[in-house]
Amino acid sequence: MVVELCPLPFDPWQAIGKHASNGNHHAQSVSNGASAVFVGTMRDHNEGDGVVSLFLEHYPGMTEKELCRIVREAEQQWALSDVLLLHRTGQIMPGEAIVLVAVWSAHRLESFEACRQIMEALKQHAPFWKYETLMDGSKRWVSHNTPGFAAQGLGAASDIDQ
């Protein structure tokens, strides 16, 4: 398991490739048949407004701890062989990766479930706060994330969208 906060931009696909080809990581094992990945990137729009840049605040000490707890929880629930979680902090420009969650397992069920579970837990619990600079120069705190499940779906949208 690797969990890292990244103050500088990172290329998510290069980061996964590097992680997966490192012999020290379980991701490299030939007993893995599956890998599920989510990459969240900064959009140039939010809630109808053009967004020029984003500042991502976090709580040093707690954020790392909470991310590790979220990954450990997924590892206890699903048979995973490796997890890579990267999350940006600081000043972010449109198109840059904000978060990367990559999960490796023997079969696809576990990777799919764990990757999504980690992302939803991160969105709900990891102490990060987005501060947007809009096209007209004004700034605002983002008040909530978009829901990760359809309203008629798994019933979790109302919890997440608070």
């Binding site: 709580y59 707690m62 999350h87 969105k123 619990h125």
Partner: protein
Amino acid sequence: MSIKVYYFASLRDTLGKAEDNGQVTGSQTVSDVWQQFNPENPRSSSVLCAVNHTYASMDHPVSDGDEIAFFPTVTGG
């Protein structure tokens, strides 16, 4: 008892301060700590709190040396 209190994001802007350092007495809860340091700002029900880097409820008891944090809904990812 000596504690540290941190405020994050929009909450820090609203309160106009990033932290409080101070003494608390007796068997106080996290909620009491807010009350003591922010007597003129009633706490919104959406405010979250952590004690020593772990989420805690507002009736969590405070101990000497604790690091307490108050913050709004998180928006990472």
